[in-house]
Amino acid sequence: MTIQNASRPAVSPSSAGQPSPQARFRRRSAISDLLVVIAWVSGPVAASLYLASGGLADVKDFGSFFTALGIVTGLIGTDFILLMLVLAARVPVIDRAVGHDRAIGLHRQLGKPALYLILAHAGLLLIGYGASSGINAIAEIGPMLALPDMITAVVGTALLIAVVVTSLVAVRRKFPYEFWHVIHLLSYAAVLFALPHQLSIGGTLAEGTVQRVYWIGLYVLAIGAIVIFRFGVPLFRSWAHDIRVQQVEWIAPDVASIHLTGRDLRALGAGGGQFVIWRFWTAGTWWHSHPISLSALPTDRHARITVRVLGRGTRRLTTVKPGTRVSFAGPYGIFTDAARTSPKLAIVAAGIGITPARALLEGSQLARGEATVLVRSSTDDETFLWTEMRKLAEARGAQLFAMVGPRARNSWMSQHDTSRGVTLRSIFPDLDSSDLYVCGPQAWAEAVVADARAAGLPEHQIHLESFEL
């Protein structure tokens, strides 16, 4: 490991006028907690809709008990599904508070419970209605299907099953991404198909009730969030900023920077370390979108992303011609200055992980000596963007360490450095009062995070951006 430069900044940008990382963290976690509370309480609220319609008074026997349970599971299950739509909608307030990754994480966790609740809803009501009519659940299927809007509800449930099953990790691996994605889009249809029977059958959401107003409001909120933030805003921004490929520049054997030009790109408000979901409009690439980190902060006319060629998709990206039209969604993510919680900044980056790390350093307002950066690579081929990183570190008054050489067994560091006793704490002496930003190949990055946890760093001080390699 070598020290690339001592902390001798030419200018130390003043962080005066900006709230401290701690103050920003308090604010962000207050918003994040509020969102978490709203999300979880929406479930009990759904159950309460039934209770408030006098549902409990109708529970008199076996059949009505199952009917009540069936109604409540349907309400909560649907609430979860609407919540999943909101989480996947890339709503700015959610992205800024918890980050796109965590929102999608919760979205994934809710998938199976939501499906189970909906299936329980169908099963319980078959039992309940059947018992009230003196027949078994199977015999009740016929009369049940005769109820108004029941056919669309069954179609909606079938779509929901397809969506969840194709999203199970084991199943998803068997299909190309595009197949999964198209099936996943059916979830919008599933949600809409389920709506008529909710409004026309049960008494809970009957016309003229507050419950009905609330429920339709939930639908408007969820569908509206999707329409606006998944489709409307990206379409508008893509049109307004008119981004085109300027040039593809190879900076390492399988790493290329794609330079982009556009209009008024600063107005996107991209924070250093954020990613953007890109779509390049050529015959071979338009059907696949790519989340790629900005490797430099956009200027008014210019933006830059850097990609590693991993497969056919990314290979094609590097062959796009100058002038190619590019649409995009974003920027997203909180691998940025905005997620800071502590007075000091520690950055560890390896391989292609250098891209957000570089932009993060560029976009951070730092006092002299506030930041320490470690860049890591197994071979000399992997030192792309390091020169830029060195210049930035110099300008920001940050200390930069470089660690080159084959990785040691059971460590994220090089053999050479582990053998001479280098540790996370020896690199970052102020670790306890630092935010640790880790970005690089997934397994490696997780090893760094595990090391930081073992060193006693609290979870909110660890920021991870991993790249699937």
Binding site: D33, V41, A52, D58, Y129, S133, I201, G202
Partner: protein, 165 residues
């Protein structure tokens, strides 16, 4: 911070459920008299299954007998019609050869599934049939079964009265 969110979620959830139960109790208390309806009917009809099959009894007329040939004056109970949501029974009030009122004797309320639908639909149906002077009117959207039960029971009552519109 996570604990704060968890505690707040639990407290808020408990509050929401309690509020739901409270409102539900108030709604139930307010509903009871209207659900029974006026007249002789009670809403606890023994429910057997079947979609729209007509069963049950048609009780006799009360009140005076009007002039022969035309409709009799008085209150005539319709048959009890079984709907997927429970029994439905209405009574037609005929005065001076005209249909002047429809009283709901039994309202669909099985399992509480559709009492609100019924509460909503009944006055609308009443207006329609009084205006049309016939049970031959269109059903209320979103309350098809309730409407069909209502109109079928009414038709039986009108037949009994010899009311032809």
């Amino acid at each position: 911070m996570r604990r704060r969110a968890a505690v707040a979620s639990i407290i808020a959830s408990a509050g929401v459920i309690l509020a739901g139960v409270q409102v539900g109790a108030a709604v139930t208390a307010a509903r009871t008299p209207t659900a029974t309806g006026t007249g002789s009917g009670s809403s606890n009809g023994g429910s057997t299954s079947g979609t729209g099959t007509s069963s049950g009894t048609s009780s006799g007329s009360t009140g005076s007998t009007g002039s022969t040939g035309a409709a009799k004056d008085g209150t005539f109970n319709g048959t009890t019609v079984q709907t997927p949501f429970g029994p439905m029974q209405v009574a037609a009030v005929i005065s001076g050869g005209k249909l002047t009122d429809v009283k709901v004797l039994q309202r669909t309320n099985q399992g509480g599934r559709s009492i609100q639908i019924s509460n909503q639909a009944d006055p609308m149906l009443r207006n329609e049939v009084l205006q049309a002077q016939s049970a031959n009117v269109s059903t209320i959207g979103g309350a098809t079964y309730t409407s069909e039960g209502y109109l079928q029971s009414l038709q039986a009552a009108l037949d009994q009265a010899g009311f032809a519109g």
